[in-house]
Symmetry: C3
Subunit: 135 residues, 3 copies
């Protein structure tokens, strides 16, 4: 079974999509199985991260921004903006697809885990996810 | 079908879980299919790596420790210890979920591939994995 | 259902395998489902990246080559060549498995997305992929 999610982003950063994915799981009619998320973009990505302390997410963003800075003289792909090539690299270092088992109609996440869409462009936009649910 | 694995770790490093996963596969009753591993933590992760030469694993750990050092002044998330924020970053750069097809009741790994849990905290702990097996 | 793909590579770089994977999907007999790719190597990997502008791919390769250079004095695993340990690290930072949903007998990729095998060795070789297709 395939479902679609659209997430509206308006700036760089982590967007918690845990409850939206759990809603798909709980209304799927399946008791347990595997939920696979796929993001249809190369300048935004997916991660599972700590959901409890916002400072962990802030540090994660700062660290990746420092590792993959804008205006790096190495880049030749610059026509789409200073944040475009860093966005492709960040997307490659994180995940385009993510699989999470579910049990009792809920994602089998650890206590402190959340599912995040990571927007890597400054302006953001409409981000489309394809979600596969299987028994 | 969903199975649980707990791995006890006591220090940073790569823990080979190939045989434990293969055991789940061989006793699943399924001849072939897809085995998806999910780790319920954000300070330990999963990778497939070379299983033959221990020096490759040692270099991999040293390299990642150098890329993501402790005591980086960038970190604000420091309450849980010096190794906590590096652990979250390392987890993000590697994998929280991993899918491996299986055939003839065995993971379809390459000759030199092993499945590893990568503990990123110094003290380690009990690490829980959720394993989904599907036809 | 499991299918095998072999990709011949002859140098470092990104090899577009989108059409080969789509061919497996379209001849599977399944209308929609999940296609999971697994590469049986630890010195080549998988990514989804922008397929439109070749400069994005070139920058991505240059960036990763700079992050993970050859002849780093940190490496002890050097017997298999100067490009071997960097290849393992690059493989770890990208993906060994990748899951893409499909609909109407085609991968549900975004407009600009392509599926790539990333060869990290200079000489390349025969790279084997195991592809799982499920409803």
């Amino acid at each position: 079974m395939i479902r679609l999610i659209t997430v509206a982003t308006n700036q760089q950063g982590l967007y918690d999509i845990t409850s939206r994915v759990n809603e798909l799981v709980s209304t799927s009619g399946l008791q347990s199985g595997l939920c696979t998320l796929f993001i249809q973009h190369t300048s935004a990505s997916l991660i599972i991260q700590e959901s409890y302390d916002p400072s962990a997410k802030a540090d994660l963003e700062s660290w990746l921004n420092r590792l993959v800075p804008e205006l790096d003289p190495l880049y030749s792909h610059t026509l789409e903006g200073d944040d475009d090539m860093p966005a492709h690299i960040k997307s490659t270092l994180t995940a385009t697809s993510l699989a999470v088992p579910f049990m009792d109609q809920r994602l089998a996440l650890g206590t402190w885990q959340g599912v995040y869409l990571w927007e890597h462009r400054h302006a953001g936009g409409r981000r489309n996810l394809v979600v596969h649910l299987g028994a």
